[in-house]
């Protein structure tokens, strides 16, 4: 322990948040990113859990990164607070990780599973993915919300399950695109290599933009805009 714990880490990674409702596959998306990009980038992961450190244990047991690069933050019963209202615990975990394994290229922060309104504060992450899955219901994308409409990337996960849960994947993707005003939507299945490659490309591109200094974090905003749309349709961009 040194006094440099009082200062910001010397190198700063791209901080990438992964949010979305419970069970949509946030941990699995992170595992997929780690598995495919760990040879290209120096990675670290912070998980957030309501109960204990289940997600960190899952990622460690999956062996996608050396164990010490995966750290758990216990958020009490408020997972949304830890990524939005009071990011101090997560911010310090990210800074510690960046300092201990400097230089890191990307730190992935997994939110504790919450509801459709939980998004990351720009004070904690530079960019964020919001993860939905087809098994959660085909109408979820249409319902909108700050994560669905404003996250830098919306992932619609487990598309291979569509036929089994009577969800029309193309329709769900089209609904999502409509809700997102041109921002990217990625249908994903870890069993379909081409979709995984697209996810990796998006991360690569985001890192390139960030490293080039061109990236400006966008706040998806705390409120769901789509059922109460303002005239300009850009409620997610307020400061």
């Amino acid at each position: 322990m040194h006094d440099d714990h009082t200062t910001a880490p010397k190198t700063r990674a791209l901080r990438l948040g992964v949010a979305g409702p419970v069970g949509t596959g946030k941990s699995s998306v992170i595992a997929t990113i780690c598995r495919h990009l760990r040879d290209e980038f120096a990675l670290g992961v912070i998980t957030n859990d309501i109960y204990t450190d289940e997600d960190a244990r899952f990622l460690k047991s999956a062996g996608v990164l050396p164990e010490e690069r995966i750290r758990a933050v216990e958020t009490g019963s408020c997972p949304h607070t830890a990524i939005r209202d009071d990011v101090t615990m997560n911010l310090m975990a990210v800074e510690d990780l960046e300092r201990d394994f400097a230089p890191l290229d990307i730190v992935l922060v997994e939110s504790g599973g919450d509801n459709l309104t939980a998004t990351f504060s720009p004070a904690l992450v530079d960019a964020q993915l919001f993860v939905l899955d087809v098994a959660g219901g085909g109408d979820v994308a249409r319902k909108g919300g700050p994560g669905i409409s404003g996250a830098d990337l919306l992932v619609i996960n487990k598309i291979d399950l569509g036929p089994h849960v009577d969800v029309d994947v193309d329709r769900m993707v089209a609904d999502a695109q409509k809700a997102r005003d041109g921002r990217p939507v990625l249908p994903l299945s870890r069993k379909q290599a081409d979709t995984v490659e697209k996810l990796c490309d998006w991360v690569r591109e985001m890192h390139k933009t960030y490293a080039g200094g061109d990236h400006v974090p966008v706040d998806p905003g705390p409120m769901a805009p789509h059922h109460h749309a303002h005239d300009d349709g850009h409620t997610h961009r307020h400061d």
């Binding site: 009082t6 109960y51 204990t52 009490g76 019963s77 209202d85 009071d86």
Partner: protein, 216 residues
């Protein structure tokens, strides 16, 4: 007020101040039980924390940081549970991280790598121009309202009743703050040592539970 506000973004919301293990073990089951728990906590570990906050505030107020290592060591000695020592230091780092962003001041640098939360609270109070007794008061109220707020998530309660308990406790906390401030100027080893062994044991058990809402 700022220091004592549970909404200060310093990570306090993830902790129940020992209430969750007490509820889980059946030691707190109803409103009278909650009130007894909160009073017991304020008069034991609450008083210790308040006295250390007051002592740190008094020293930081006159720019003398030579006693800080002693204060840290004495507070360690009053916290038998390794888990609670770690939590106190984690919360201390978080509080410093939050306050040095909100109100930057070189005095925060004088705190070591992982200072105890009450000591950061005391230094922060001095930085904000408060007196030792006010530092003690902030420590007592922050700690009390944090544990009380956790009750809503842990027990079938009416939140009005919880706040009624907090209202009834205010004069008790005033007295404790005065006691803490009176002890603050003395040597660190003479600060109150009113420990609560059951809370230390409970914190250790809590760490090992598989399902919990709060980190402590």
């Amino acid at each position: 007020m700022l220091l004592a506000d549970g909404r200060l973004p310093a990570g306090g919301y993830a902790h129940s101040g020992g209430l969750e293990p007490a509820v889980a073990a059946g030691r707190v089951t109803d409103m009278p039980g909650l009130e007894r728990f909160l009073i017991g906590r304020a008069q034991t570990t609450g008083l210790i924390a308040a006295a250390f906050a007051a002592a740190a505030c008094a020293r930081a107020g006159r720019g003398d940081f030579s006693d800080l290592p002693d204060l840290e060591a004495e507070l360690d000695a009053r916290t038998p549970s390794p888990e609670l020592r770690k939590i106190s230091r984690d919360l201390g780092r978080q509080l410093r991280r939050a306050l040095s962003s909100i109100h930057p001041d070189p005095r925060f640098e004088a705190l070591g790598a992982a200072p105890h939360q009450p000591i950061v609270m005391g230094v922060a109070a001095a930085v904000l121009g408060l007196a030792p007794q006010e530092a003690a008061m902030a420590s007592l109220h922050e700690s009390n309202s944090g544990a009380a707020a956790a009750a809503a998530k842990l027990m079938p309660v009416d939140p009005f009743n919880v706040h009624a308990i907090l209202a009834r406790m205010t004069s008790r906390l005033d007295t404790l703050a005065a006691q803490a401030a009176a002890a603050a100027e003395g040597p660190p080893s003479d600060l109150p040592s009113t420990g609560a062994p059951l809370s230390d044991i409970a914190a250790e058990h809590h760490r090992r539970r598989d399902v919990r809402l709060f980190a402590s």
